[in-house]
């Protein structure tokens, strides 16, 4: 326990509160993107509909299920260490990392197909006609939002790997597992961000 805390519970509560404060500003960070989507969709409804029809719904839906499952596996690991089972926590961490990597790989395939189909805003944008401008704005939102989310995923995978490494060292026990819980908050939050982006990108403007 660090000297500035009155008890181990006080230290754990401060760590958890700090992560919630960080997540509160992350809500506003991604909230600005949602605001941009609502504003631009209202201004260019036909363009957004056209663009949404070209988004890869299959990959997006599979990725949503993958991410939901990864939150489930990490929380299962947290429950395991709270019962004093570090081995189960390590297994849960690697399952979570595996699912995170699957998500990123599928996202990469989706980006690759999008670029191949000419769905990159600019002079060579493949969707032509009167709604092309709105569709290009949609794809600006799409790339900014999904790249930012993927960066959060990469950071999350690094954090889960760190938890697995510390668990292997024997740092966590039934009595103390605060870092596992803090990283779990971050990982599930990244899941919540995707649950917000998924309908906006693939469904809401259909």
């Amino acid at each position: 326990m660090h000297f500035q805390y009155s008890s181990a519970e006080h230290q754990a509560e401060s760590a958890m509160s700090g992560m919630w404060l960080f997540l509160a500003q992350e809500i506003l960070f991604f909230g600005a993107l949602v605001f941009v989507w609502v504003y631009c969709c209202y201004q260019h409804p036909a363009g957004f509909r056209l663009a949404t029809q070209h988004a890869n719904l299959l990959i997006g839906s599979i990725n949503t299920a993958v991410l939901l499952t990864s939150s489930f596996t990490f929380t299962a690991g947290l429950l395991a260490i709270e019962r004093g089972e570090p081995r189960r926590l390590i297994q849960a961490c690697f399952a979570t990392i595996g699912l995170g990597v699957v998500f990123l790989l599928l996202k990469g395939v989706e980006w690759f197909k999008d670029v191949g189909d000419g769905l990159v805003p600019g002079a060579h944008f493949s969707l032509t006609g009167p709604d092309s401008g709105g569709a290009q704005i949609f794809y600006v939102f799409y790339y900014v939002a999904t790249v930012l989310h993927a960066l959060h995923m990469i950071i999350g995978i690094g954090l889960v790997l760190w938890i697995a490494w510390r668990a292997r060292r024997g740092d966590f026990s039934r009595a103390w597992s605060t870092p596992v819980e803090v990283v779990g908050l971050y990982w599930s939050f990244v899941d919540v961000v995707w649950l917000t982006l998924y309908p906006l990108i693939y469904l809401a403007a259909l």
């Binding site: 509560e13 909230g31 609502v38 489930f72 599930s188 939050f189 919540v192 649950l195 906006l200 469904l203």
Partner: protein, 96 residues
Amino acid sequence: MSGWPPLLVAWIGLLVLLALELGSALLLHLPATASLFGMAQAAIVVIAFMRIRRGSPLMHIFGAAGLFWLIVLLALGNLDPLTRTDLIVQTTGNPR
């Protein structure tokens, strides 16, 4: 929530909501409801996986503050563009 069964129920519930979200948008042609399903899923993740109910009052305050300012951002930010009436101004030529 604590223990395996509630966690499993939450995960299955999330996948069912995902199926309903897809079904409502593609089969019932109600794409606007997709965001409502997304919000319901987010609430389940916050309750079951982020275990907000086990948190201290300070964590609740930070979580609620994030949600409050998000509502302010979206509501006030969109108030003008969503309620503005576009008036068509007819050109009558330059009076001078």
